[in-house]
């Protein structure tokens, strides 16, 4: 086995650069997330705002302290830590205790990113690493959903949000089931229009499909996002859930419900498209998206959990290096592929 880690790889043109920096890309993604964030705060009020601020600040602070302690160049100026924090906050339930949010943010940055060597070296999406840690640590808190558009959401903050560190949060009397949980456990469907505009209960940022899609379109138009990834995921989810639906329409939800419910849109547009953790080649990207879509359908319909987007994307991330290598372009004049082991 010969590593081509140090060998020089010549590529054909274009050699012109767009002058695109990491900072620009990250800032544009944050701009694209702003409508989603605003909708999250409008839907869930004070608790969601506090949670988003906490996760974002903690992520930036963690990265700053880490670089400070390691006597490295500070990297918080590239906005990636802020983006990770914002994304993590958007995947959590609105009334999630702030101290748990802080722990999730620290795990995201430390375990998800800095341990691998910082941005560009991580194998998993950092925000999802933090969320997976929280899901395994606090399974009750992360599946306690508060009602959308509660009348007193701007004056009053959920008591679980302000739970003292390391103590069990008090659960409010009013809580809403997410559309996916309602489907899984009591076979109630939600109107697709409500899912599309975000009038349902769920994680802070996942409810409004239309705003997420608008943000995605903006990024695709600016060429900051590979449009094939969300498209591949959505097509794959529609295809595989369509098969289930056609086989047993009374047991399984229809493909439209599958597409617009839960974290699928947020995951497909903003998480799976992370440049670091998705394959490099166009063909690889289709395989990657198709795999994630299949995993989402399998976990949601056949697994024990109502939602599976997080695990599906993390598993897709794990396959990324393999997919990149398998689909690498051939080096001109030789028989070997650009990213192959041989």
């Amino acid at each position: 086995m010969k590593s081509n880690y140090l060998s020089i790889v010549l590529r054909t043109s274009p050699h012109l650069s767009r002058g695109l920096s990491v900072e620009t890309v990250m800032r544009q993604v944050i701009y694209a997330l702003l409508p989603v964030t605003a909708m999250a705060i409008y839907t869930f009020g004070q608790s969601a705002a506090l949670l988003l601020i906490t996760t974002t600040l903690t992520c930036v602070l963690t990265e700053w302290i880490y670089t400070r302690l390691g006597r490295q160049e500070p990297t918080i100026g590239d906005w990636s830590a802020a983006l990770t924090g914002l994304l993590l906050g958007l995947t959590l339930p609105p009334a999630f205790p702030l101290w748990m949010g802080v722990i999730g943010s620290i795990v995201s940055i430390l375990v998800g990113k800095m341990i691998f060597g910082g941005l560009g070296c991580n194998i998993f999406n950092p925000a999802l690493v933090g969320r997976a840690f929280l899901q395994a640590s606090f399974p009750v808190a992360i599946t306690t959903w508060s009602e959308a558009f509660a009348p007193d959401r701007f004056q009053y903050c959920a008591s679980s949000t302000l739970a003292a560190p390391f103590l069990r949060p008090m659960v409010d009397a009013v809580s809403g089931a997410t559309p996916l949980a309602a489907m899984k456990f009591s076979h109630q469907t939600t109107i697709v229009g409500d899912l599309f505009f975000g009038l349902t209960s769920g994680s802070t940022g996942e409810t409004s499909a239309v705003l997420i899609l608008l943000g995605g379109l903006y990024l695709a138009w600016r060429h900051l996002l590979d449009w094939r990834i969300p498209l591949a995921i959505m097509l794959s989810v529609a295809l595989f859930s369509g098969i289930f639906w056609l086989a047993a329409p009374d047991r399984y939800p229809d493909p439209l419900f599958m597409l617009f419910s839960g974290g699928l849109m947020l995951g497909a547009v903003f998480m799976a498209t992370d440049m670091v953790t998705s394959p490099l080649t166009p063909l690889g990207v289709w395989i990657y998206g198709g795999l994630i879509g299949l995993l989402v359908v399998v976990i949601r319909l056949l697994g024990g959990l109502p939602e599976g987007v997080m695990y599906a994307i993390l598993l897709g991330n794990a396959f990324t290096p393999l997919i990149s290598r398998m689909t690498g372009t051939k080096v001109y004049g030789t028989n070997r592929k650009l990213l192959s082991w041989k």
Binding site: V111, I115, F133, A136, S137, F138, P139, A141, A163, F166, L167, R168, P169
Partner: protein, 215 residues
Amino acid sequence: MNEPIYSASAKHENFDCLVRGLWKENPVLVSLLGCCPTLAVSNSVINAVSMGLATTFVLICSSALISMLRRFIPKEVRIGTFIVIIATFVTVADYLIQAISLEIHKALGAFLALIVVNCIILGRAEAFASKNTIAKSILDAIGSGIGFTLAIVCMGTIREILGNGSFAGIDLFGPSFEPWVIMILPCGGFFIFGTLMLGANIVNTRQRAKAKLGA
């Protein structure tokens, strides 16, 4: 086999045999041996302590016996012989724990019998006890055993405090403590194991860098 020649530094050498296993060649944190029990039964302090003591007992006894018999064991069948000797002492430890506390025996489950294939014991037998005197082998076994016990108890403490809010069964934070379920689950074991190894590596790297600067 050549016996080491007795010299003035022999005392120092014996001491080195004893302390080597504690930190510098810690079987778990540095050599990464015996990971299976370290990950599997470190979810509470009591389990960790009993596992550590049982392994140390088997390690000391088998090292002594193997060192005693090192001239009689044919080279070709040494691994099999080692396993038979180790299995004997594991059976003793198994019955011993069963007699002391049935609860602990149940909690440790199959991992008690699996001490037979613990790499630390076989590793010390193959690498040390089969080549050195009885006294040295016993010292080496004590060092490695305590090193293993320290590492697994360290993991057990962190996992039990975070995952259950208690230390050795004593409640620390009261009923409103929110347990970190992940710490009791296997993935929490991997998390803490990785974190401890990270800490050990940081300390060792700094020490090495300092020694280089001094030299």
